[in-house]
Symmetry: C2
Subunit: 198 residues, 2 copies
């Protein structure tokens, strides 16, 4: 009954499982990965996973929750930076890209959100929406403070999110590529936002 200072072992394993699952889902597709696949990667047996997760649906849900959370953190660090609109947009993108190609481990592409059970699906969708809105707000701020060139905020947001979310489709862990991505992607995505003159 210790005052759970150490959410240690359980939480730790659970997180390993989520990362292994994310890796499997991204690499082998959702329908292509069985619980056995995920378990094997950790030297476990499929049944063992049920100690950490109610069922496969919840495994996916947790993966997505983790992905959403990492995105949220990237966003919050950017907003906390106190820069102008452009700087915050750039920073958010860099933070998020860093997560996608960095050692946070694989981040699951949210392709099976629609098949989550309603409560889970709605939660994930709500977080995603908040996330999008937050980015659009940054863009709006940038328009107002003059750091971002005139643009359709909604569409720009959709474009940027798409580009970021799609990363795991073509990035497969090569560290050299990771460096390149980190250096160029944020610039690629924000070039169009830069205010040219005044």
């Amino acid at each position: 009954m210790a005052i759970a200072v150490d959410a240690t072992r359980f939480q730790f394993q659970r997180d390993r499982i989520l990362r292994a699952a994310a890796a499997c889902f991204n690499q082998k597709g959702y329908s292509g990965t069985s619980l056995k696949d995920v378990a094997r990667q950790l030297g476990l047996t499929d049944a063992a996973l049920y100690y950490y997760v109610r069922n496969k649906e919840e495994l996916v849900y947790q993966c997505y929750l983790r992905a959403a959370d990492l995105g949220r953190r990237a966003m919050e660090r950017a907003r906390a930076s106190g820069g102008n609109g452009f700087e915050q947009a750039f920073l958010y993108i860099r933070n998020h890209v860093e997560i996608m190609v960095g050692d946070a481990g694989p981040v699951a592409i949210m392709s099976e959100v629609p098949s989550l059970k309603p409560a889970h699906r709605n939660e994930i969708l709500a977080i995603s929406r908040r996330h999008s809105v937050a980015f659009e707000e940054i863009l709006s701020n940038g328009l107002r403070d003059g750091s971002i060139a005139d643009c359709d905020v909604r569409m720009t947001g959709n474009a940027v999110m798409g580009a970021i979310n799609w990363i795991p489709k073509w990035f497969h862990g090569d560290p050299a590529v990771a460096t390149q991505v980190l250096e160029t992607f944020p610039d690629v995505l924000t070039r169009g936002l830069r205010k040219t003159s005044g």
Copy 2:
């Protein structure tokens, strides 16, 4: 034994099925859609689908093949236009976006490519690769002919493809939005490519 001039009825139904399937996959997720779901949408019975497709795997494969083909056409029309690099890039994006939000019907997001059987998977991947390479070539041409500003060709390609491929995630058929997308998305995606001065 007629010289199959009219691939009519069969091909027609098959295409309807592919579109219905694409719609289901995008809306309900891959694991969330059963063959019965797809069939019901057409007033058919699940078993009837087997007259048009060997199994579910092939249904997905055909959906992806169709998606890839639509993309290829968008690309070819752009290349055939004979414009400079920037113009071709812009045109390709417009063409492709038009397909994604237009009345070509829903285009399947290729999220389950990894779980296709090897031959199918490799074919889809090969097409995708060709597609990416083609776009990168357009960008390279633009760099050479001076119509596109200095940029990382590979990463720019990845960003643009991601943004386009992600469209079905947030576009759900609203015609007003379709118009907006068509008008703004190509501009959003190419702004960063425009040569500012010389």
